[in-house]
């Protein structure tokens, strides 16, 4: 049985359709990424799945419990951590753990056991009495994660979990998440960092309240399998965009950091017309090579096809 099943889940706020007939399943032990720009409906969906918000229509079960019927039952079975690592800054590391343990109704023995586990996981052994506000971002994030899984939930919701954290801490964090997933915990992550999405087993791209694409990372990238993407490195990318946009073999171009991604029409494999056009206009290209499409390519494409703009 899937850990999460969602069928035609819908939520309105007045006339505004925040989530529009969304359906998907998440398997036990899966790291499931929920991607989309702000306002795409990610938060509303997650709030419904956590039992905070009643669906307007449709159903969702989390750990076998219907979120509309028994939101409290859902809350007992899930862990939740938000981007703000909502800890109490004036409490010590240990007091935060004790508080959240109490909130989930852990008895003293279980709490002692889980406290040791959380301290170990967060790497905060020996710093039990440090005030949380004195912790650096990465430690705070791991402590928040520890507090969120004190009651050993089988399903963990992470709402943009790595905002404002340095890359090293981010990597450490994902190591922890992978370990949890290996032990059978389902992890449901929302993010708008595309590099973070690469850590997920499967991804759902949300746009305007709907799921615009769903699949594994490689499946989503395969959307581009039939089309080649050429990365052009040049000192004058803006001119290059204008020069290449109206070539017959080019579907579209987009700026990609300091480089230029040129998407050829299906069946087209030749880079020579690009080179000729650039040379003809006196634009110097340092390199011109085929690249694997990134998730960002997929995301941009999905959003464009859905008729919107990515934020």
């Amino acid at each position: 049985m899937p850990a999460v099943t969602v069928r035609d889940l819908t939520r309105r706020f007045g006339p505004f359709l925040a989530v529009d007939h969304v359906s998907f399943d998440v398997e036990q032990g899966e790291i499931f990424g929920f991607l989309g720009s702000n306002g795409a409906g990610k938060s509303t969906t997650i709030r419904m799945l956590c039992g905070l918000l009643k669906p307007s229509s449709g159903t969702a079960t989390v750990g076998g419990i219907d979120v509309g019927r028994d939101p409290e039952g859902v809350k007992r079975r899930i862990g939740y951590m938000s981007q703000r690592f909502s800890l109490y800054e004036l409490l010590t590391v240990e007091e935060n753990i004790t508080f959240f343990g109490g909130l989930y109704g852990l008895d003293d023995r279980t709490l002692a056991e889980r406290r040791a586990f959380a301290l170990d996981m967060a790497g905060l052994k020996g710093r039990e009495r440090t005030l949380t506000r004195d912790l650096a971002g990465g430690w705070r994030q791991r402590l928040a994660l520890g507090c969120a899984i004190l009651h050993e939930p089988r399903i963990l919701f992470l709402d943009e979990p790595t905002g404002g954290v340095d890359p090293v801490s981010r990597r450490q964090f994902w190591l922890l998440i992978n370990r949890l997933s290996e032990s059978g915990v389902t992890v449901f992550v929302t993010t708008h960092y595309l590099d973070e999405a690469e850590h997920c087993h499967r991804l759902a791209l949300m746009h305007s309240g709907r799921i615009a694409a769903l699949g594994t990372v490689s499946e989503l990238k395969n959307v581009f399998a039939k089309r080649a993407v050429v990365e052009v490195r040049t000192a004058s990318p803006m001119e290059a965009v204008r020069a290449l946009d109206d070539l017959p073999s080019v579907e579209k171009t987009s700026l990609f950091g300091t480089a230029l991604h040129v998407w050829l029409r299906p069946g087209q494999r030749a880079t020579e017309p690009l080179r000729e056009r650039l040379d003809g206009l006196g634009i110097h290209a340092e390199s011109l090579e085929f690249v694997q499409p990134s998730l960002e390519d997929v995301f941009m494409d999905v959003v464009e096809r859905a008729g919107g703009t990515a934020a």
Binding site: K75, M81, L103
Partner: protein
């Protein structure tokens, strides 16, 4: 309930860690009591007095002793001329002067009235009338005593007189009347503000959302959160009462248990008010402003603290029924000053209870709605 206790313990840790808030909750009220107590104090003691005694005998010394023993006056100078008195008054060395005329004893014993002169620095009208009242009371006291001693030798005319105007209350109870009002005022403000801020702060920091994701009902969370504030407010209230007993000789003539009961209901109502505010706004600044507005002004103006309710116009009087401090003040004054029992002020307890239930009810409805 276990969960609510976990919340209460957490809140308590937070408060203890946040020294500033704890200080505000516990000691600033007592500090305010002193500030307001002295500012609103119409009593004056240790008035610097100059004495020019032209009689120099047992009678004049008796009169002087009465002035000193009253503790209202300290004799700081004994000038020998009016010019000297004038200089001292001008420089502020003295605030008052007593001039005992030559021949006072003779007047006393021949059935005449002896007039003593009291000069008072009038630059502060309030102080002057107060000082005037003291002197008047003392002189009349001495006069009455002399009347008894000399009854055989004279008629009914008073032996010594200052001036025939009496308009100060010699009991000087102004502070005792104001202090209970101050206690209600301070407790109301600190409870409403601290509760509303503590909840709205969690909304701002995102911990509110985190807690709502946990399997604990909003109501038990809020109950847990308010428990520490209840006890702190209660301690604070009794600290103020203690300070008032120490500094202003506030008597507690009635039952301490009844006082505890009344203060508890009042604080629950105040916490409920703060709770209601916190369900209406999402920012600490706004919560602070609204809390102050709904607790400070009504409690100051509409509770009978300073302005008697009986003398308010009818529409305003109606509004005062919604001000909890109004009932608490009657309870407090009744217990503390008059030593009344429960039976005499049961209606006030009832009204206070109704207020608390209504406010808590409204807050619960609002909290339940927040769940969407």
């Amino acid at each position: 309930m276990r969960k609510a206790l976990a919340v209460g313990r957490k809140e308590f840790w937070q408060i203890v860690r946040d020294r500033r808030t704890l200080l505000i909750l516990l000691f600033v009220p007592a500090f305010f009591l002193m500030l307001y107590g002295y500012a609103l104090n119409f009593d004056i003691r240790h008035v610097r007095l100059a004495v020019m005694d032209r009689e120099h005998n047992a009678d004049s010394r008796d009169l002087l002793a009465s002035f000193v023993n009253s503790t209202y006056f300290d004799i700081v100078a004994t000038p020998t001329s009016m010019a000297e008195i004038e200089r001292m008054m001008n420089t502020g060395e003295i605030r008052a002067a007593l001039v005992i005329p030559e021949g006072m004893s003779r007047d006393l014993r021949t059935g005449h009235t002896a007039y003593v002169q009291v000069l008072i620095n009038g630059d502060n009208a309030n102080t002057a009338t107060t000082v005037y009242g003291y002197a008047q009371a003392i002189v009349r006291g001495v006069s009455a005593q002399l009347q008894l001693q000399l009854v055989g030798g004279r008629g009914f005319a008073p032996p010594i007189m200052m001036e025939p105007r009496i308009w100060y209350n010699p009991e000087l109870q102004s502070t005792l009347f104001l202090v209970p009002g101050l206690i209600g005022f301070i407790v109301m403000i600190s409870s409403v503000v601290s509760t509303s801020l503590s909840i709205v702060r969690e909304k701002e920091r995102g911990t509110w959302e985190q807690v709502r994701m946990a399997p604990i009902s909003t109501v038990s969370y809020v109950v847990g959160k308010t428990i520490p504030y209840f006890f702190i407010s209660l301690v604070s209230a009794f600290l103020i009462i203690g300070a008032a007993m120490l500094l202003f000789e506030l008597p507690v003539r009635g039952s301490w248990l009844l006082l505890l009961f009344g203060a508890s209901i009042f604080i629950i109502g105040a916490l409920g008010t703060g709770l209601l505010v916190s369900t209406l706004v999402d920012s600490q600044a706004l919560a602070f402003l609204i809390s102050l507005l709904i607790s400070l002004l009504p409690t100051f103006i509409l509770s009978g603290f300073i302005f008697p309710i009986a003398s308010m116009p009818a529409p305003i009087r109606v509004i005062t029924y919604g001000v909890p401090a109004r009932y608490f003040l009657v309870i407090l004054r009744g217990i503390v000053l008059k030593g009344l029992g429960f039976g005499m002020i049961a209606d006030q307890f009832l009204a206070l209870g109704v207020y608390s239930v209504v406010v808590l009810g409204l807050a619960s409805v609002r909290l339940a709605k927040e769940r969407g």
